[in-house]
Symmetry: C2
């Protein structure tokens, strides 16, 4: 079974709104084994939307339309469907009473503008909308199905979950299911990873392994097609095990895990606390760690010592070292980590110092030069990195790399 | 002049990646008066991509293709263009030397896998890619133009800015231009703002004013159509002036400004320095401030005092106050702000304490309760807020509101 998506909305073409709906719908359809081969976006223009829907219905029997269901003149979806199926628009008391009772519940005055919401193509079914005034529409005629949902993500998602996915899952029956799982890696680059798993990357067509690079990390997505979710999951498990054989501890997590989740988990398991001293990352490491629920058990103190003065007075970095080596140096990174470790009485501390740009520092260090140091009771270590990108990207890469250094340290010291 | 976008990538259809590229390209095209009527997404499937490109070229003379330009077998864009234009792929030494010299600069080994990057359709021009190994491609033949860019947003954007937009602006000449400008507001909610500008919101069809709500702020987007950029800009200026009459200092910035840009600007103008003490926001305020280039001149110290111990020992919050009021209280917020002010010898300090959730705190305070305090040489103040959402959203809302409190303080104290 295959489907297409047609998004209607001038705001999407003008780029005022990023379309997150299609990705959501794509994931949901894949989960029930419906293939999505094509996605089209048109503006609030009736003739182009009619043409778009007609083209889609030539290629496939199921089209999901989002947007254009509101009460204004720009909302053309009802007219488009009625024209494509050659049926008139008729008044639906059910759609009208849904809209007016919802408005009443919200304490709003009823308005004449509700009338358009009650116009539906003759023969269409309604899809309940628990979060908004516009019902969805389903046309099922001559073997062609068109499902129309609002463009507001919260409304669309609720309707998909409650009605559309159960309905489509019933139709799709036992077709082919697509399941996927992502493994996440911080540290080695895409090229190095591909070298280590080349025989797995290219040997397979099901499951497939696709590398996806994002800021400072690589994600390997395993995607399996099978006749049931259980079977697809088993295929994924097997491929994951093979990948882990080659990549081992380089894999820090799966799916929506981020590097900070792995770090907090390890600290919790080891009953350890960490501290952070940030210069170039400017609070981002601390922000990332505190995104994780329960992080208050493992993080006591983080200091953003952006000025030399703060490094010297708060963290106890020796003044003469700053003079001699400059703030962006191995020596200062180490002194910052030691300083925040003793200040916080944590078990392990990480620090960063570097040049985020756009300008180079007083010592003419290049943009992207970053030192990351680790200090613990019995040792210290420091890494030197050259990152690329904008100020923001350099902060992000440095923060992730620092957290990954901490993660690898925790794996080795337990 | 009209254009279409064709996105190539199975990850977009499966919903593993949200397509932000089209929105960016849409905005850029609108800015130079090129209409975008249609956007298509297909997977990494050659026959569907060829069909998609052929359909698009039937409707319009200019198609921008994103994705599928990498070195792997899944990267089909070069082949698609060569098939649609009926020309062979030929080797481009320029494309090859770009890729290999970039890899050398990054310190990577050259690999055989670069060869596909050097295959270009005969007669195509190259578009320089300052951020990645894959050059873009432009085919210009028989009145039809196809521009191919990588799917990686940073690379695509750099190439649009440097090469594609200047090139297209030259072609587009003088059609109808769409220009827009966003005004940004933190603090009052959407309903309050709409009440204050209702007469402006509904009276106008050109320019239009569209409110757009995001986490902790409201954006008002003014969009004008005119025959020249100058004319559209003048219309926008006039509408902006009317909005500012009603919203005044509630507007903190425009376009891509974020609240931290407004704060750093005001601190710079007043030659003042700030300090930050964060509990519930966990480093996010510090992270936001350090996203702004030049922030080292106005921010010396930020402390994430997540534990009571850190609040007491580092910031000097009195132990008995923590015992008596609990860490989430007006008294502790004020003591944290005073503490970091004196520790840093800054001119003004902000602090946050609250419950980010998902669990309530030891004193049974509800999730989302946040105190924000400000301290300066001659005074202190504290606000109490109830925010909603996930842990991450509460941190974001609290950080923005704290920065907005600092902004309003700076506007009033100069």
């Amino acid at each position: 079974m295959t489907a297409e998506i047609l998004c209607i909305g001038t705001e999407l073409l003008l780029g005022h709104v990023v379309d997150t709906n299609s990705a959501y719908i794509g994931r949901k359809l894949a989960g029930i084994g419906i293939n999505l081969y094509h996605k089209t976006t048109v503006g609030d223009n009736k003739s182009r939307a009619v043409a778009g829907l007609r083209e889609a219905l030539k290629r496939t029997d199921l089209v999901i339309v989002t947007g254009g269901l509101g009460p204004t003149e720009d909302d053309i979806t009802r007219e488009v469907v009625s024209e494509v199926f050659g049926v008139p628009l008729v008044r639906s008391d059910e759609a009208l009473s849904h809209a007016s009772s919802l408005l009443k519940r919200w304490g709003h005055q009823e308005q004449t503008s509700l009338i358009p919401l009650a116009q539906v193509p003759e023969g269409a079914g309604l899809i309940p909308n628990p979060r908004g005034t516009a019902c969805g529409i389903i046309m099922d005629k001559m073997g062609k199905r068109v499902i129309c949902l609002p463009g507001v993500p919260g409304e669309m998602q609720a309707m998909m979950e409650l009605t559309v996915i159960p309905y489509l899952a019933g139709l799709a029956g036992k077709g082919e299911v697509i399941a996927s799982k992502a493994l996440r890696i911080c540290g080695p680059g895409e090229a190095e990873i591909e070298d280590r798993i080349r025989h797995l990357l290219h040997g397979k067509s099901n499951p497939t392994i696709a590398p996806l690079v994002s800021l400072g990390e690589v994600m390997l997505r395993i995607t399996a097609k099978a006749s049931s979710t259980g079977e697809a999951d088993a295929m994924i498990d097997q491929t994951e095990a093979e990948l882990r054989k080659h990549l081992g501890y380089d894999i820090y997590g799966t799916e929506d895990d981020e590097i900070q989740h792995a770090v907090v988990r390890l600290l919790e398991e080891r009953h350890m606390r960490c501290a952070v001293a940030e210069s170039v990352t400017g609070g981002l490491i601390s922000h990332k760690l505190t995104e994780v629920p329960g992080c208050s058990g493992v993080l006591g103190l983080a200091v953003t010592s952006y000025s030399n003065d703060a490094k010297i007075r708060i963290l106890g970095v020796p003044d003469d070292k700053v003079q001699k080596h400059g703030a962006v140096s191995r020596e200062i990174a180490l002194a910052m980590a030691r300083g925040v470790l003793s200040l916080s009485s944590a078990d392990v501390a990480i620090s960063t110092t570097g040049v985020a740009g756009p300008a180079t520092d007083d010592h003419m260090h290049g943009v992207g030069l970053v030192y990351v140091a680790l200090a613990w009771k019995n040792g210290i270590t420091c890494g030197r990195f050259q990152f690329f990108g904008t100020r923001s990207e350099i902060k992000e890469r440095a923060a992730k790399r620092a957290l990954d250094m901490l993660r690898r340290h925790l794996l080795n010291h337990h």
